[in-house]
Each structure stands twice: as C-alpha cells, then as structure tokens.
Symmetry: C3
Subunit: 265 residues, 3 copies
C-alpha cells in the first residue's frame, strides 16, 4: 500500500486563540523547533470561542485552495483537559488534524472520500513529549504532532487506527422550502448562511426570507446600488445577505445562528 | 529593452479583509500553490472597508523599506464584480498591483517615475484560471496573477499595455495656510494627516488648528509631558497629532477625514 | 572565548503596535532587505500600549518553546525619542533585544544565568543607518540591528559592553499569604496572575480570594461545569481564574492590575 499523504511543508493553522496573546506564536515556535522548513499559514485565529462548527465550515471551503500535501491543524477545543480524543482525516492528498468534537465533519462531507484515523497518544509517546499541561494541547500535543508529520519522520498511518466513519450531509430542504442559518458574520458584516447553491437551484425564482423581509437573489455586489441589501451566492458557493458598500449585520440587526428561509417565488 | 522588474520572491499584502475570516489565508494558499518559495508579508488587512485611498496612503510610505524586486498586492475593491479594471505600476524596481480605483495614485506620486500598465485579463486567460467567482477577485484573480509574476514565468510587460498616466500632487496650500485632513487614526489613537513636512517648512512658526484648539509643533513624543497633546512630524514625514502615553483620538474626540489647518504663528 | 550566541534565522516580534497599521510589516521589510532568509514569527503585537512589563511576562514564558539561536525582538517603548538606552541579553543560547525600560527583567529571572549588554549605537554607526526618525525606532534601529545579528555579520559581543546586572525575583509571599495581581487578561477572558505554581505549593489547601469571592484550586478547565468559575495553574505555570466555556473577565467584572490573594484553607 502506498502512503495516502506526502507532506509539502505547508501547515495551516485555524484556532479560536485570537491574536492578543502569544498562543499562536508558541505553537509556531514548537513546530519550528522540530521542523525549521515549515511554511506556516494562518487561516484564522478568530473562530468564535468554543465553536468548532465554524472552524469546520471554513476549512471545508478552504482546503481546495491549497496544494496537495498541505497539513491543516484546527484547534477549537472546549473539551481540552477531558478525555475527548484527537482525529486525523485525509482528503484528496491533504491532511486535517483536530479534536474529535465534530469539527472535521463538514470537511469530510466536502470531498468524495475521507479516510479517518484516531490519534493514539499512547502509541505516539516515543515521538511526542510528556504532556506538560492540561490546558494547552495546541502547543503541547497538536504542534509537535503536525511537525513530526510535516518532516516526514512520522507517517499518517502511524498516528493511530483507521476509524470507520460515514458522515452524511444533513438535509435542510422540506418541500419547496429550504431552512438554513447564519453560520458566519464576516469582517464586512456579510451574513453567510449554510444554504448551498446546489440546494437553491431546485427552487424556481427563489425568495430569501429573513427577519420578516424578503430579498431577491442577485448576481454580484457590484450590480447593487450603494446601501442596498441583497442576497447572492457568494464566492464560497453559499447563500449570503450583504449590503452594497455597507454592513448587513448592523443594518439588519442580525446575530450568529439566526434562521434564514428560502421559498419559491 | 531590459525588463523593468525582476522579482525577489517577496509579496506584500494590503487589504480591507480583516483577520476574522480566512480570506487572506486563502490568497496565500493560492499563491503558494503556484509558487512555494513566495515570502508573504502582511502589510495590513485592516484598511477601513472600501477606502482605497487609505491603502494608497500607507503603500506610498511603505515601499521604500522593501528591497528591489518586491511585489505589493493591494485589494481594497468596492467595485468588485463590476467592470472596473486592474492596474500594475512599476516604481524604482518594485511592482504594485491593485484595482483601478485610484488606490495606486499616491504611490505613483511618491516616486520620480512610475510606469503604468493596465492588466488585460483576456490576454492572460492562458495562465489565469477561469474566473470562478464574481466577488472574491483577491483569491481568484489577484493572487494567481502575482504568483505567476513572482515565479518569473510571467513578465510585467506581458500583463497588458502601457497606460499614459500622469498623476500630479494636489495642492493643499493657499497663501499662508495649509488645509489637510486626518487620513489615518492609528492603533495608538494618533491622528495622522496628509500634510507633509515639506509643505510645513514654507510656513514660519507654524501653529496647528484642530477642533478650535491650537497646537505647537514638537520634535518628538518623548519630549512631551505624559498626557500632553502635541503636533509633530511623524516617522512617515507627515503632520500628526499625538498624546504622550495617551490616546489623541479619544482625548480630542476626533474622527477620520476631519479637517486640520496650519497657519503661521 | 566562544560566541555565546549562534543565530538560527528565527526572529520573533513582540510589540504594542497592533495590526491595524503597517508598522509591523515595515519592520519585516527592513529585516528582509538585509536578510532575505529570516524566519519571522509574530509573538503578539497587542501588548497593552506602553506596558513593557506585560511583554516581559509573556517573553519569560515563551522563549522555552523556541530553538537555540532564536532572536526575540520586543518593542514596547514609551520612552522612544528620549535618551533611554537599548539592551541585549543572552539566555541559554537565545538572544533578546529591547528598550532598556525593565521589559527584559523577567526574562533574565526566568533562566539560571543571563548575560546583559548595553547596545552602543555610536559604535554600531558603521552598520546601522543614520537615524531617520525620532519616533519609529522599531523600524529604523531595532529591525536593522536584529537583521545584522541574524545574518551573522554582527556578533552579539560587538553590539556593546557587558552590563553587570543582577535581577532578583520580587517576593510576594508574607506569612501564609501570597499577594499577586492580574498581569494579563487573555483572549478568552481568563485572568492570568503573576502568582507561580512554586509559590502556591507552600500553602496547604490554598483558597483564592478575588473581589470578595473565594475559589478552590482545580486541575483543568474540562473538569469544571459549563459556566463555573475556577482557579487553576495554567499551562504557563501561573495561577489563573477562568470560567469554563465562558468569559471570567466579564463575569467577574475584572480589570488589569487588580489584586489576587491566596490564603491557606
């Protein structure tokens, strides 16, 4: 059997650690201590605290832009210090490592085939350090683990046994209606939903309902008049509410997790 | 004819994308997919949304600190999805690429000579991907474009035709008075204006007028007493209002774009 | 005598510059202009403005995760533009450079032996540029200085004379009581004190007193119920007040610098 993953040296980092403290810098120090050639890319460190699903949402729509051989490390870990496990999945020649808390499910769904493994810390004891802290596994476990894999000294097949997991997409369509929610409010105040372009295609002349208002589906931001709120399929293939040169979050008084419904016109 | 630009591998990024979402990380993924050796430097991703002039203000005062051969990519792009073009300018052996919305004008003015080119996406179709999104040109057009140039596979001369553009500095002096505005409020709350040291020299014993108060021109922060608000020529060669070990923005209740006037003493 | 420091190419950056403006990017441009192979790692740029002690707190607990030969540059510099000096210290094969304002004292205490040197800008004039600005020494003095050392062209022994400095840890224990303060409020709202695990061990059944409430010492976040506020020794070896999956800062209405006391049970 050939190896399912050959590292290219790139390691992306996705966390809810923020940038106020040196937490991310310390993970990078640990990685460079083991692998000076690592190419470290910050995806984001501002996942809302303790919301693994948001990290999964972005990772599932980001990996396609990285080359084969990239390692994606995601640490959003409300259960740190308990006995929650760690998982690794391989998707089209890229590797993802995260706490086993559902974070990687949407990544698995985003590809035709995902190979799951549990990370067996007992078996890895010879290459990983004694666990120094009960609270900062990003620095003390995840960082040395991805560094060892990135160097090629540790094979993905060695981190632990295969897991037999089949994740399927949750259906959100009922009859002529699709019900989704606001998954992300981005830097511009755009309201990004989990309703996908493919789902929308089923519905003739779709109208988007939110907070008692109804929005038409537009083609792009630029086509809208300044200040107009529009619905569009964004560059990640999902439905988004946006205000042209404005902030839809404040204009619509929207919050994370609110319901968005699509119905035929 | 010799090439006007030889890449050194450094690509700086300036955007209004913020760091909350993975937008910048995705641009880096696209660049590394085409050019693994790229040295990616974040200039800032917190340009106020949709304010290309602020990006231009900083780029015009930043490029001097980078080596010959650096590529500066700036994406502050309120017109994304419309038919606004893209431009490239070469200034003293460095290359700048941005939407054609005025962003690069101050960069052109900051050097003796700037060579402008329009970016011809039709001509570049063989090397650039089919345009996948109407809204994220940073990821889908700008990132692969700068990567191709950084590798040396694409010459600046090949991106499109020369443009015959002459940008001249706008005069802000009238008689004994200079009228400027607050261009940037920085992280420390310093109020950075667009009034330059050279303009100030023409005025004997200059007094700075703002919000009905009058300030003397000081030499440095350190010379001021803690809490004192002073005017000084900052390290970028422009007039700034600052509070020693304090925050001038909150102390003076200042906002972006407000008028600052200098008159003789 | 053998050199006490051999650079490995890594330079970490710790400042209070924030990320809104291109200040950090400019320091990186200056460093790369002199040393293209530099590996630049951001530790944090969000030290509270003008608080060198917070930078020192983090550096003293961070350097252990970087390899021998790393240079740590810290610029939190309320006295910029006055005649405050610059210092360099060598600690277990790593080098730290900062303004001489107390920032590096806790780093010196964190190791068995620290070698102090003053940075003699007069002597360095041949390799450092004419000082261009009175206000941005990070860009104009510190950045070129660390770049020259990182390349190996400038030895630590050449930056200036040895300083005979002995810093000792300040005692915070009196009888059965330890009095500390909140040094850092992190991204998660955790209240991180300067009370160390070693000090706590002296006290049987320690109880933590803050704002009139009393907290027990727990082993980890994960063991607590959601919403519970607990005290624990964190992954940096100091006492911390944290709320499980919540924000202790807002729940306890805490602010930086407030007093935390430990007494026997």
């Amino acid at each position: 059997m050939t190896a399912s993953f050959t590292p290219n040296g790139i390691i992306t980092l996705t966390t809810d650690f923020g940038t106020r403290d040196p937490f991310v810098g310390l993970m990078k120090g640990v990685i460079l201590s083991r692998y000076m050639q690592a190419k470290l890319i910050d995806l984001t460190h501002e996942i809302p605290p303790y919301r693994p699903a948001v990290a999964g949402f972005w990772l599932a729509r980001s990996w396609q832009y990285f080359p084969t051989g990239t390692i994606h490390l995601a640490v959003v870990d409300p259960g740190v210090g308990t006995d929650r496990g760690l998982v690794a999945i391989t998707v089209e020649g890229q590797l993802f490592i995260a706490p086993d808390n559902g974070l990687l499910e949407e990544v698995a769904v985003s590809a035709d085939r995902a190979e799951w493994r549990r990370v067996d810390l007992e078996r890895l004891r010879p290459v990983l350090p004694t666990i120094a802290s009960n609270t900062f596994h990003g620095r003390d476990i995840f960082a040395p683990l991805v560094a060892e894999i990135a160097t090629g000294r540790l094979q993905v097949e060695q981190v632990g046994d295969r897991l037999d997991r089949l994740i399927s997409k949750s259906a959100r369509s009922f009859g002529d209606e699709i019900a989704g929610e606001i998954m992300v409010i981005d830097h511009f105040g755009n309201l990004i939903t989990n309703i996908e372009a493919l789902e929308l295609q089923r519905i003739p002349e779709p109208k988007i309902h939110f907070h008692g208002q109804v929005f038409d589906l537009h083609r792009t931001y630029g086509a809208a008049k300044r200040g107009e709120v529009i619905a569009l399929i964004n560059s990640f293939g999902v439905l988004e509410l946006a205000q042209a040169q404005g902030n839809a979050q404040t204009t619509l008084a929207a919050t994370l997790g609110e319901r968005v419904v699509v119905r035929g016109g």
